[in-house]
């Protein structure tokens, strides 16, 4: 167990350096882009200004010194300063992340409830109309462009419904004020963000449950006369849920990343929308800083999920390695 955790953490080290190196290279040595220009946004760079910026940011030093410098700053939480607002990127992120986190939690809740239910129903009612319906719905959901789904929901629940009911019933389609906006603001962005992963969750739940249902110990349980419900909750679900829980954990990371599109569609004031606005304003420090933070959040969540997987599944705990 301990050996597995240590091994997993050791594997994380090269990944950490690899990801930071790629981030650093993209930010400074992208072919066709000019690191000096990136420090000032759209502004015209005169030769004197260029010298000044190179001096200030140490851009004329060799790349490995700059990379070391970047790593040192990263460990201190220094992600640079926004060109357009002059604020520290780390401050912007601290201000925006609760929105992204809350939305992701809502989406995870939707995924757990709908994804698991749909998967279980479809596994228990194999080859019936319901099963076909779930399979079809999941195929469509995984093929949906997230931003388009968001716009359709906006149109139907925010605009069409409002027109039809004369403004009596509709759901808000954009933004949220205050750190904890009221529940109706979460409905549409939450569904949008959850759509794709709910479909994958349902598929995994279905296939896992079907696999477990064919196991010998389920036959034994039936033979000793347990009721269908007892078998489902005490034997089948317990085992089938392990990979689903892992998937949902990993998905939480993916949702932080997927937030860029959903938040852009709904003007949701989280990190994703901040990235979008920074792209529009060519405020590269903010883009790179936010992407860096999300990447690390994703990587750390994945690491934690892997470790908790070992707690949940004895086969990994005692088996040693994954391959």
């Amino acid at each position: 167990m301990l050996k597995y955790i240590i091994k997993r953490i050791l594997q994380f080290i090269p990944v950490f350096f690899g990801v930071t190196l790629i981030l650093f290279l993209v930010a400074n040595y992208m072919p066709g882009s000019d690191p000096v220009q990136m420090k000032v946004g759209e502004k015209h760079v005169t030769p004197e200004l260029r010298k000044q910026i190179e001096q200030d940011y140490g851009l004329n030093r060799p790349w490995y010194i700059q990379y070391g410098d970047y790593l040192a700053k990263l460990t201190k939480g220094d992600l640079g300063v926004s060109i357009s607002t002059g604020r520290k990127v780390s401050d912007i992120i601290l201000e925006k992340y609760p929105f992204t986190l809350n939305l992701a939690l809502v989406a995870i809740a939707i995924e757990i409830v709908i994804g698991i239910c749909a998967g279980v129903i479809s596994a228990l009612k194999q080859r019936t109309f319901l099963d076909v319906l779930v399979t079809l719905a999941t195929s469509i959901s995984v093929s949906l462009p997230v931003f388009w789904l968001g716009l359709l929901l906006q149109y139907f629940f925010g605009i069409f419904l409002k027109q039809q009911t004369g403004g009596a019933f509709y759901l808000p389609i954009s933004g949220a004020s205050g750190v904890l906006p009221s529940w109706e603001y979460y409905v549409l962005p939450g569904i949008t963000l959850a759509a794709v992963s709910t479909a994958y969750g349902a598929r995994i739940m279905r296939s896992q449950l079907i696999e477990v249902m064919g196991m010998d110990y389920i036959r034994t349980a039936k033979a000793k006369g347990l009721s269908g419900r007892q078998i489902l909750f005490h034997h089948e679900m317990k085992n089938a849920l392990i990979p689903v829980v892992t998937f949902i954990g990993l998905d939480f990371g993916a949702m932080l990343a997927g937030a860029v599109l959903t938040e852009t569609v709904f003007n949701w004031p989280g990190i994703g929308f901040t990235i979008y606005r920074a792209i529009m304003a060519r405020d590269f420090q903010v883009v790179i800083g936010c992407v860096t933070v999300i990447l690390f959040a994703v990587m750390i969540i994945n690491l934690l999920v892997d470790i908790s997987y070992a707690f949940l599944d004895p086969r990994i705990r005692f088996g040693g390695s994954e391959e």
Binding site: P14, V15, S143, P145, A254, A257
Partner: protein
């Protein structure tokens, strides 16, 4: 004596003969391969009952049935997969021939005509404009067809780049093992560690806009998406490598390159092919997302994602501008997803038994 049931569908003709000969030379066990109900069965015949010559003829007899032939036959019986394939072909033909007929029938979708922008702005779907027109008076149907050119190009070529890089690295990694495997797999870990859409967003936003053409989008998506292919192909190489026919080939003195290309690759490629089919849909989604964010394909080139972004402003009164390009993305990606499902079922050896 090897009595276990062989995974025959994993071998093609030459391998079977190869192995047959190798086995025959080394021991006196003759083996017949009999085709029964689509699945081949191994029969161990002790010397004397059948002459080796007849057995060889029997194995040549089933020349018409190969792994890919069988798979294609099964695929052609899958209705959903066939509908998907037909849809993809229709979209592809429309996209390839678009320049010949779209400008003549619906006006050039890439240029903004100020006169048309005033006279036929936001017209509803009609016989002249099947999907209506957008805020610039451009025909939405024509633009959707033009958008297919970008989406299919990016989807197919980005996936091909990922496939080639992934298969190459996965093959080296799985075949040679040891240190080179460890190095390649650590690099793969790095690329698997982050959601690649996020990195694509970063790279594309850093690039100056004059570089944001189709080629660059293809390259960025292709170069970021290979890690899953590498993992997948490495593990299938690892399992195929253990098969007897590879050992037989090696015993007969085949070079590493020959073993790789003639024996391992054809038998290990199936999972990568399945993943690639679905991956085309994924690449189309990524491209549309980048274009929607304004950092993918730039106007005047038409792309579905950019069309949806343009239509956002007029969503309240003219939802059709957003609706049609989105439907085009959904149906095309869905077609690749379902075709991928079909290919997976058709190639899955276990399904046959």
């Amino acid at each position: 004596m090897d009595n276990k049931k062989h995974n025959k569908s994993n071998m093609d003709e030459s391998e079977i003969k190869h192995e047959y000969r190798a086995q025959n030379e080394q021991s006196n066990i003759s083996r017949s391969i009999v085709k029964k109900n689509g699945a081949s069965v191994n029969r161990i015949a002790q010397g004397g009952s059948d002459s080796p010559r007849e057995l060889l003829d029997a194995s040549i007899d089933r020349k018409t049935r190969t792994l890919w032939g069988d798979a294609f036959r099964r695929l052609s019986k899958n209705k959903l997969a066939m509908i998907s394939l037909i849809w993809i072909i229709i979209v592809a033909v429309a996209a390839i021939t678009a320049k010949l007929w779209v400008p003549r029938l619906f006006g050039d979708p890439t240029i903004i005509n100020t006169q048309l922008a005033i006279t036929q702005r936001f017209s509803s779907p009609s016989f002249a404009h099947w999907f209506g027109t957008d805020d610039m008076g451009r025909d939405i149907f024509g633009r959707v067809i033009y958008g297919a050119r970008v989406s299919l190009t990016v989807g197919i070529f980005a996936t091909l780049i990922s496939l080639v890089i992934g298969v190459f690295l996965g093959a080296i990694s799985g075949f040679y093992g040891k240190a080179i495997d460890a190095v390649i797999m650590r690099v793969t870990d790095i690329f698997l560690a982050f959601p690649y859409i996020l990195f694509a967003i970063l790279v594309m936003s850093v690039l100056p806009s004059q570089y944001k053409g189709v080629t660059v989008v293809v390259a960025v998506i292709g170069l970021l998406g290979w890690s899953t292919f590498a993992r997948l192909f490495r593990s299938s190489v690892l399992s195929v490598k253990e098969n007897d026919y590879v050992a037989a080939g090696r015993a007969l003195g085949a070079s590493n390159a020959r073993l790789m290309f003639k024996h391992i690759l054809p038998n290990a490629i199936a999972p990568a092919v399945v993943y690639a089919t679905m991956g085309v849909g994924g690449a189309i989604l990524t491209e549309s997302a980048l274009s929607f964010l304004g950092i993918g394909i730039q106007p005047p080139t038409v792309s579905w994602g950019r069309m949806i972004d343009d239509g956002r402003m007029n969503l309240t009164d003219h939802p059709a501008i957003v609706l049609f390009p989105g439907l085009a993305i959904l149906l095309t990606v869905l077609a690749f997803t379902l075709l991928g499902d079909g290919v997976r079922d058709a190639l899955d050896v276990k399904m046959e038994e």
